[in-house]
Subunit: 279 residues, 2 copies
DNA sequence: AATTGACTCTATTCTTGGAATAGGTCTTAA
DNA sequence: TTAAGACCTATTCCAAGAATAGAGTCAATT
């Protein structure tokens, strides 16, 4: 083995890369063989070219693209190199932040599934305490109970656009709901035209964010949005029956969506609730 | 706009995706339009299919591939979905670890450049204190001073293979060096056949790891490996001249490589040093 | 009814960093 | 001389679209 004139196979073996990789680097101008036989096209490398190969490996480990590595090669002084590496260091910081954010989103989804599993599924009415919540709300022009089945989708998309325009994270969209003001809770004539998302501490200052006070609620769950109105009526009737008083706005809150299970319809599990006061 | 029969353009606009994306999802079986006109091939979507699109967006945000999202769609129960998401959560943990490791490597490179900038460049001899170090060493059969210029490359590649076989991180390869035992420091007949990498705390238990005690060194830097032998002789002469005593093994340590600057040769800056005792 | 402009269709190419393949040429040892 | 093994170029594939070309379709206006 002549160290000053290695074939591509020898060079590849010594440096633990594949032959294809060396050919790629040649094509891309990252590492040209020292000699190319004009007649046969055979590539011959010098052992000292291993240094360049080492460098490419390092840079790849830093997560740089071949194109950027190629740019980097052109630098002829330490300052540029150092600046280049520092820039990449900061970029990685950002990538880590993004990943953590994604993790948080997954955590939120898992939490929702957990809540789903702990709630009664069969239209059972129950009373619960709910702590304070903050919602970012959006008001539509139409009563979504009135519309022929698309009302909910329309309201949701209006809300989504509002979310985007306010630069709120889209992940809030996972915990969406509608609200019916106390004065509109009239049996036989329900009216609701506001949708909301639950927000956490970071966004409480927004002018469209409203605080929902903590309190006791009478609640009920379902998986079929088309029966919401009927269930709401049933809940109101139950309040009368139990001799309770309505203490605030009606809320319909999506616990979780199962968009994976049904292809062409929004498959969700939601909870409706009305705050109550004991007479 | 008929919400039950949206054209691809309307559907795209409502959901803030591009038309190409919808066509792709159709081809890949992620979301088929509700109706396809047999004559014209026109796709028509139902507004309720937005839910599926939302789900795909979420999953993409989690860093999942379309293929995996498609697999996920097939799940028909919450348990599988939850398990799937948890798995991805753990994967992201790993990705974050990898990124942090890469950051650490960049930090190491930057540190090396910093050391480079603080060292005298013009063959100046200086005396310094160096703390304890740990090295993973590899012994070759040949004296690398003897060989016709390739000795260093060969030794390095043997070391690299040893590193890999011992499963040590390759990043150590950035801080490489050679060692000449005290008994072999004979002017006019230098002998060195050991290379090493500096290792940190994690790998001190290895049987090939040796401790280099702290102490005073007489040192000198250079950027041309071919003059190492000559510089070593000069350093030894200086010890005589200053009436000092050699207190241990000679070390040649690479401070940093500049593989980017020269294409076909290992361009590096190194420091040679001999531990000394004052008589 | 015809025109026009906007929309949609399929098909192809491009991006990254190689891996894999086919079909042909070269080198080297027996 | 022959055969194995190494090498060559060229092409295709992966993922998730973006961008393009060229052709067909829809809906509103004249």
């Amino acid at each position: 083995m002549e160290l000053g004139k290695l074939t591509i196979g020898q060079m590849a073996k010594i440096n633990a890369v594949t032959i294809q990789t060396l050919r790629l680097y040649d094509r891309e101008g990252l590492l040209k063989p020292l000699i190319v036989d004009e007649n046969t096209g055979y590539r011959y490398y010098h052992i000292n070219q291993s240094a360049r190969l080492d460098m490419i490996q390092y840079m790849k480990d830093y997560g740089l693209t071949l194109r950027k590595i190629k740019d980097h090669i052109k630098f002829k002084n330490v300052e540029d190199t150092v600046e280049f590496l520092k820039k990449r260091y900061v970029e990685i910081d950002q990538e880590i932040q993004d990943l953590k954010y994604n993790q948080k989103e997954i955590g939120r989804a898992l939490e929702n599934y957990q809540r789903y599993e702990n709630l009664p599924k069969n239209h059972q009415i129950f009373i619960e305490y709910v702590g304070e919540r903050y919602i970012f709300k959006h008001q539509s022009e139409k009563n979504y109970f009135d519309q022929d089945g698309y009302g909910y989708e329309l309201l949701l998309h209006e809300l989504k656009k509002a979310l985007i325009s306010m630069k709120l994270p889209l992940t809030y969209y996972r915990n969406v709901g509608t609200i019916m003001r106390k004065e509109n809770i009239k049996p036989g004539n329900l009216l609701s035209n506001e949708a909301f998302v639950l927000v956490d501490d970071n966004f409480r200052d927004n002018e469209d964010v409203e605080r929902i006070p903590p309190g006791m609620y009478i609640s009920m769950c379902s998986g079929d949005l088309y029966e919401e109105m009927e269930l709401a009526e049933r809940l109101i009737a139950e309040i009368e029956k139990r001799d309770l008083e309505i203490a605030g706005d009606y809320i319909c809150e999506v616990i979780t969506e199962f968009p994976a299970f049904k292809e062409n319809v929004r498959d969700m599990f939601f909870k409706i609730q009305i705050p109550i006061r004991f007479k």
